[in-house]
Amino acid sequence: MASVRECRVELLLGCRVVDVDGVVVGRLEEIVAELDDDEYVVREFHVGVFAAFERLGGGMLGRGLLRLVGGKRLYTGYVVPWKVMDLSDPERPRVTVPKRELRELGETQRSAGTMPRGQPSLRAAGGHRQSANENTVS
């Protein structure tokens, strides 16, 4: 039987995350899960000041201000896939790869605001549906 441990999200929040070399990546601010067979499965963790702002639901204007005021220093956030996040010690979360290999919270994600991340794919699905209808009509 696979071993199962429990970990509390509210205590993980704000914990400093370091990479494999001990370099600070940022503080853990958000956990993104996906509904998969009636289960909410964690897909990625968002780390950094920008992730905190995202959690608070900062709109586009707020994001622009953040970039203006804080520059690159405040406007950074990283996406940590679940596979590279080591939560064996929940008080000291660790990433098992170097910080430079982590994906930054992308510009498209940054401007997405509080909209669900599935939005682009939904849009794509809509586009596909439309083309299917066109085929039916023709």
Partner: protein, 120 residues
């Protein structure tokens, strides 16, 4: 469907079957599985969970209160994610809130204080 655990779930008001407010999501439990992605297993409601977020000293104090006045310092209610009907501005769950320990304090207050006020 994507779901942001902190933004969409933590601190949201929880409503039961009868749309009674039974508290707020004070904590979320992740299940860490070897070789598989972590799973959001449940969330918890209760003063003790909330106190833990404020630090170990507050957690110890609330635990002490719970031992001294069990009816007042209520226990922890854990609700599995499979019992969640809907997550939006509020979190709707499939359960009867009257049976949960989260409302023990309110029931105690109603019985001992509010109920004794004339005209209450």
């Amino acid at each position: 469907m994507e779901f942001r655990v902190v933004h969409d779930l933590l601190d949201k008001p929880v409503l039961d079957d009868e749309r009674r407010n039974i508290g707020r999501v004070d904590g979320v439990v992740l299940e860490l599985r070897r070789g598989a992605a972590p799973r959001v297993a449940a969330f918890e409601i209760g003063g003790r969970v909330w106190a833990r977020r404020l630090g170990p000293r507050m957690a110890r104090w609330v635990e002490w209160m719970g031992k001294r006045w069990p009816a007042v310092a209520n226990g922890v209610t854990r609700i599995a994610m499979r019992d969640v009907r809907h997550v939006g501005i509020t979190v709707s769950v499939k359960c009867d809130g009257r049976r949960l320990p989260t409302l023990a304090w309110e029931q105690w207050l109603r019985r001992r204080v509010i109920g004794r006020i004339p005209g209450a």
